[in-house]
Amino acid sequence: MSDIMTAKDLNLWYGETHALKNVNITIPEKSITAFIGPSGCGKSTFLKTLNRMNDLIPSVKITGEVCYNGQNIYDSLVDVNELRREIGMVFQKPNPFPMSIYDNIAYGPRTHGIKSKVKLDEIVEQSLRDAAIWDEVKDRLKKNALGMSGGQQQRLCIARALAVKPKILLMDEPTSALDPISTSRIEELAIELKKSYTIVIVTHNMQQAVRISDNTAFFLLGELIEYGETEKLFSQPTDKRTEDYITGRFG
């Protein structure tokens, strides 16, 4: 497996707060990488540096590099919109747009210039199939997406992200607002998707990291404490703080 993303000496400040401290990590292609750690440890912040979603917050300052396919994404020549097309994102709370299911999925392709109805139909069906929700919604594509259940909405958001054919899918605690059944469906989906996509998932739930991820990174107070194969990290952590966290001594 080759590495698709690398962060080098990444630091991030929110105003005066030093939220990420010298993070170095490499993320392998077509695998699931999980970020764990207590609330406020910087795992979500770090996830958002990977497709520059932090650019939207005015007080953020970043130093260091994040390389995607060898290119520093913070280079001034990088087209942020194209970057976010290739590195998609699924958010903590399902956030479908207040429009029809079809238009939600077609939003991304339309943004990137696809107008042909035939092509859009094809993309919509394929994305919904890939997100394992086609059968549930195929008869109501024109209905408003806000009428779906929370779990369906989240799978719709995954389908929406897939519709622009990304290489990487960033998931920011995608199941924290969902019930156990919806959660397990999203987990199955993630495992299915890693055949074709690289997935980086932030999770509060350590069992989830164990169940689905290949590699796990443990963050604490803005630092990357330990990073390695999930099985190894959970069975033989090398750092005392990791051990304390995964055995439930804090967090």
Binding site: L56, P58, R85, M89, G108
Partner: protein, 283 residues
């Protein structure tokens, strides 16, 4: 058990509240009824469809109706793009939040200025300095300045009601800023923007002081372009002229009744728009 004093106090307060509610309702009903009773008998097809003629002694308010329409249209054409555009810039693009706060404060202060002051400034600036003379255009531009802060502020407030998560979702798909605004933010708050505009139509209809100085008192029947460049009385100004200078109180009350019906219709349509969109959003 409540003491006697306490009981008397409670029932006294209750009576006071009934009286104040009753008085408020009675005043509104009295005002509306009075204007309608005095005005409606004077509304006739002739009044609505002709212009005044001194030779036959006939009074018609068609020119005033058209003038009002022209003023509303001309004002909206300027005020909507300016106000909505400024609001989009200030809420979505502007980086300097301190400056934005100051502009918002200034806009709110502006909307509290008595309209006669706008009229005075409009007369000096548009009619004289820019040489528009007393004309509907000068009047409309004055109303643009007057309504700009309100249109801008209501648009800003409705932009702020669109959840950040919609914006994040669109940015996350690689949409550029303008596309996010056009396809996600504006459709999400269009009802607020439209309601704001409808309410400002109401204010334009009801404005008189600012127009007395800038738009004049003429009753000539004109097409829209000719009308905008010549002086003309709006319905409110015509009401003033007929009542105060010609003693035609019947006509004045007829105009008053028409204005009240229009205001009512405008408020109803504003309510309708927000209800319609609220329903649509519930899928």
């Amino acid at each position: 058990m409540l003491s006697k004093k306490r009981k008397a106090y409670i029932s006294g307060m209750k009576v006071a509240m009934y009286i104040s509610t009753g008085l408020t309702a009675a005043l509104v009903i009295f005002l509306v009824a009075y204007v309608f009773i005095k005005g409606i008998p004077h509304i006739s097809w002739e009044l609505l469809s002709t212009k005044p003629s001194y030779i036959s002694g006939r009074i018609g308010i068609l020119p005033d109706i058209l003038n009002t329409l022209y003023i509303v249209l001309a004002t909206l054409i300027f005020v909507i793009p300016l106000g909505v555009g400024a609001a989009i810039y200030l809420t979505e693009y502007a980086k300097n939040k301190k400056l934005v706060g100051m502009i918002e404060y200034a806009a709110e202060a502006l909307s509290g200025i008595p309209s006669i002051i706008y009229g005075l400034v409009g007369m000096l600036f548009f009619c004289q300095f820019l040489g528009f003379k007393t004309s509907l255009l000068a009047g409309s531009l004055t109303l643009v300045i007057m309504n700009l802060p309100t249109v801008m502020r209501t648009t800003q407030e409705s932009l702020k009601t669109v959840p950040q998560s919609y914006r994040d979702g669109a940015f996350g798909l690689g949409a550029g800023k303008w596309r996010v605004i056009k396809t996600v933010v504006l459709p999400g708050c269009v009802d607020g923007v439209i309601t704001g505009c409808i309410l400002s139509i109401g204010r334009i209809l009801g404005e008189s002081a600012a127009l007395l100085f800038t738009a004049g008192f003429a009753h000539a029947l004109n097409g829209i372009f000719e009308g905008l460049t010549s002086p003309g009385a709006s319905l409110t100004v015509a009401l003033y002229v007929y009542a105060k200078e010609q003693g035609e109180f019947g006509v004045a009350f007829a105009i008053a009744a028409i204005l009240m019906i229009l205001t009512l219709l405008i408020n109803l349509s504003a309510t309708f728009v927000s209800k319609h969109f609220a329903k649509k959003r519930e899928f």
